[in-house]
Subunit: 319 residues, 2 copies
Amino acid sequence: MSLALRDSPLVADGTRERIKAHAREIGYIYNRRAASLRTSRSGIVGVVVHDIMNPFFAEILRSIETELDRSRQTFILSNHYDQVEKQRNFIDTLLQLGADGVIMSPAIGTPAADIRVAEDNGLPVVLIARSVEGADVPVFRGDDAYGTALATDHLIALGHRRIAMIGGTDQTSTGRDRYQGYVNAMKKVGLPVRADWRIVGPRTKQAGFDATRRFLDLSDRPTAAVCWNDLVAIGLMNGLNRAGLLPGRDVSVTGYDDLEEAAIAMPALTTVWNGQREVGRRAANALLDRLNGIEMHGGQELIRPELHVRQSTGPARER
Amino acid sequence: MSLALRDSPLVADGTRERIKAHAREIGYIYNRRAASLRTSRSGIVGVVVHDIMNPFFAEILRSIETELDRSRQTFILSNHYDQVEKQRNFIDTLLQLGADGVIMSPAIGTPAADIRVAEDNGLPVVLIARSVEGADVPVFRGDDAYGTALATDHLIALGHRRIAMIGGTDQTSTGRDRYQGYVNAMKKVGLPVRADWRIVGPRTKQAGFDATRRFLDLSDRPTAAVCWNDLVAIGLMNGLNRAGLLPGRDVSVTGYDDLEEAAIAMPALTTVWNGQREVGRRAANALLDRLNGIEMHGGQELIRPELHVRQSTGPARER
DNA sequence: CTGAAAGCGCTTACAG
DNA sequence: CTGAAAGCGCTTACAG
């Protein structure tokens, strides 16, 4: 009977259909726990990110969902809110449930040992968005340094010479890379990189909004801002609007990620496409490949970002 | 040993600690599948909503997460995108995994029978945001008719007489109730309810943005719009801004939900607080109570919404 | 080809 | 109080 229900070719068509019909009739429910106990495959994949409410991760999740659905894998989601302990608990849970693998955007401060524990216990890991020093697993992320350089170059080409960087942190690989790209672009053309023109921290709309005051109070106030991501940029633009300044005319603003809402922001946001869908799709497929026994090299796969120019950037105008 | 690991009081403290230390040392991993097979409790709760990328659901999920974490339940998430079939697959998966219960915002068109199948197979159901006719399970949602009446009353008090309703659908209980509240408020003071002043459909930012043209082209163009939710309102405000109209001065706009970003929208959005956190908290606790054998009556628990007045609404001015 | 038996790793009722 | 045995529902290797 179990063979028939699993569509085994060992069972004749007619027999299979009769058995299936009967199973439906008596309300038979396949017990995946029992099957999993026996086969040690559970059909469960874990996904853990900083925060699914962040549209950046939500967009990645959506394409992961598409890929896993196709392979009939169930996925369990968790936020770690950058708490290593919460992430560790989740990995424990996955191990206890016998999950087949995990896709993670590691919490700030994740030690390579945590990845190794998972791997050593038969839970293959694939990383997205951030890498972990010393962990020999596949990583899928955008080329952040290249991306912010694109944005910065664009502003420089528009004639801006005083450019701030708003948001982010040095605690993640992404944060360091994005800042580095901005620094490289500035230095390449001999523009000053001033420590006080970097406003560390903001990564949300609210934080971008709150940073407006600090930005406007900077000495030798910059005429443009490279923002950590679209959320910060949109928050900053709202703040500038409130202060009576028009983004794209009075101050140029770039975002990062090209979220769905970047195009309908007010004004439409110039930003860097970060390939969320690509990251999700490739990460999911890499994990599925690993589950099917395909050998995988560790190391990064960088997705090349693209600049999308819209209305939030314009020619530099001195006050 | 299994007793010691589960902190049973039957085991002396010293013994327990020694056993636990040893377990850690040899890298012992508790097998929840095996335990679940034996006890028929899995520690898994399913949550299925239309779309977790929608901040309304994301905010509900966040408080569900908090409550379930506290009870050490793992939750499995799924979007149904209003496809009954997808929702049905998810419920099947939960049954196969022996999940302890499910919290769902039912897909449009969910038959009461689908709820009953789950319940009859030992999967208790709690509904959020929408109800299902004929399903005798607890429902937690806001009082939608009351909420849109609050918004409409507010606009009427500001002197508006031509008020449109933008977004939503008659296919959900929420949609019908929100429209009814608007109709009631208009009729109560003898204002006209015109079919062409209702723009059915939009529920996203993009859709709200896209609806701007249709709104501006309405005959006897309304001076105010009651929007289905904050996303539609923000999209509409962006569209109005692009058209050179200032929300709150040229056109008054109300939202619904009071999402976190309503307060920092441009301009700050007048909206109806819809108690997402409350809905999530109560739904999770109701389910946990059911799991612990506490009897539950079916039926709705309505959370009373509140009007939050900000800058997107102002006195009516005729052109 | 078919059917009965063993075993996955737990928990619990039961014998000692 | 302790320890060995049964059984949850599958899958698979094996005997017939």
